[in-house]
């Protein structure tokens, strides 16, 4: 699991692509919407930035060499491991990223 500094960075990267967490209790559905939102956005590189953040020990090239399904699986697994729903609740609770 990420440490506090990196977890906040992950939230900051994903903030614009997050659906309302109140409507979800399932990590898979929630992650699916995030992936969809990033893909539809003008900044798809967020996907790669999140992966590098969630897997700091993995080399960028090693990650890129994996097939697309495997990358999506890694991304979802990363969000699940880092308890993204709890992270969103915590960050909104402390008003992180509301200003600035």
């Amino acid at each position: 699991m990420l440490k506090i500094h990196d977890a906040l960075k992950l939230y900051a990267l994903l903030k614009d692509y997050l659906p309302d967490s109140k409507n979800f209790d399932n990590y898979l559905d929630y992650s699916g919407i995030i992936i969809h939102n990033i893909r539809e956005s003008s900044r798809p590189e967020t996907f790669g930035e999140c992966l590098l953040l969630m897997y700091p020990d993995e080399d960028a090239q090693t990650l890129l060499d994996k097939d697309s399904l495997m990358i999506i699986e890694l991304f979802v697994q990363g969000l699940v491991n880092n308890k993204i729903l709890d992270l969103v609740e915590f960050c909104t609770g402390i008003n992180y990223g509301v200003i600035g």
């Binding site: 699991m1 440490k3 506090i4 500094h5 915590f90 402390i94 008003n95 992180y96 200003i99």
Partner: protein, 208 residues
Amino acid sequence: MLFRLKRWISKKRVKRATLKKWLLLEELRSKIAEDRENTGDLICEYLSFAICYGEWETLDWLDVAKEYLFAVSVHSPTQKYPIFQFRPRESKDRVEYDHWSWYMWANLFAKNYGWELDKIEKLDIDDAISLIHEILLGEQEDREWDWSLSDKSIEYNSSTKKAKFVPLTRPQWMQATPEILEPKKIKINKNMLPAGVVMRWNPDAKNP
């Protein structure tokens, strides 16, 4: 391992902060919300001050979050005070510096009760907030009295040739919350009612 043990013991022994510590913790909390660049460091600083000094940044974020929420719940007033329900207007004239709120509160207590700083900093949070309420209400009453004696409190309407008292505006938190009145029952003339038999819905009736 050692830090884990230290945290466990500190959590068991943690006591609710007294006034000065609480004000400093609240200052940190507002910085956490405002300073996006250093939020992580500020959360760790808050925990070091609120629970125990340690390497909080080495823990998983979820543990840090749980400890942070625990610390906030311990070091909080036990009831909701009207003074905190409204955000004060930003004032450009006000000069703020580090630990400004502590000195502002200390000044109010010292001025009104003649207490020493040592005594003020050890006040219970709830006692301190309630006393601040009373001090601010008293000051407002004094201002209202002075206002009522001044010319500005009377507004003359030249068209009706009558003078009217204009009360001094109170801060939002001192204003009584408006009472929600039940709608008045209005009688309607029979000739304005729709023609035919008016059926009223009765959920208890067998054949509604």
